[in-house]
Symmetry: C2
Subunit: 130 residues, 2 copies
């Protein structure tokens, strides 16, 4: 059995259950985390703009997602002292680096969906036909 | 409001709730999907080897994860006609391309965890101190 990733000389390892990097990876790649980072990579957005952009997210889930990303240092929350108060969200420099890598993955998946859907059809036909 | 991703001339768009690419992105980036693809990027593995490598996954969750990845055409399942039967899992060519992009993201997150943990500490101190 190979173990190249396991044996790398790095202090953090997502394959280890207790490593905090696993939690951060989940904030970044979770359903709403990934879409939130992707949406903010286009520029800063207010809460309701973000909510429209991330189609299907509830107010509660978006709020939780933003808190986790802010706590991890990936998103910056800027409250303007206006009346009514206005809150903008934007990526931090670290958040931009994470989002760029995430978008590479997202665009690759979007670009290969024809292959994925053809595979699903073959899979379902093979199983349905038995 | 910007809309560059929304307006791209691509048939698939993860930002749209009903687009099938969103489901595939979730199979790829979900907690166990990401770790399973990462583990298999080192070479083919049997079910129990994979289960040890993906620390913390249950037999049921690993089985569900592998089925979803196999259906999407990212993982190939090879049953050997031996006694007892032996089943190997390996990435397909498409799965290797997806895993490479995912590992870029994973390694980047692992490499920046010191920054993430420092940010968490600042965040918790600011909130705890108020």
């Amino acid at each position: 059995m190979t173990g190249t990733l396991e044996d790398r000389d790095l202090p953090y390892n997502v394959f280890a259950k207790a490593c905090p990097s696993r939690g951060t990876l989940e904030h970044v790649t979770g359903r709403w985390g990934a879409l939130t980072l992707g949406a903010l990579s286009e520029g800063s957005l207010r809460f309701n703009e973000l909510r429209r952009r991330v189609d299907g997210v509830s107010e509660k889930m978006l709020s939780q997602t933003l808190h986790a990303l802010e706590r991890d240092g990936l998103v910056h929350r800027e409250a303007q002292p206006t009346n009514p108060p206005r809150v903008d969200y934007e990526l931090t420099p670290l958040g931009r680096e994470v989002a760029a890598r995430l978008l590479t993955l997202i665009h690759f998946v979007e670009g290969r969906m024809d292959d994925v859907l053809a595979s699903r059809e073959r899979y379902d036909t093979a199983r349905g036909g038995l």
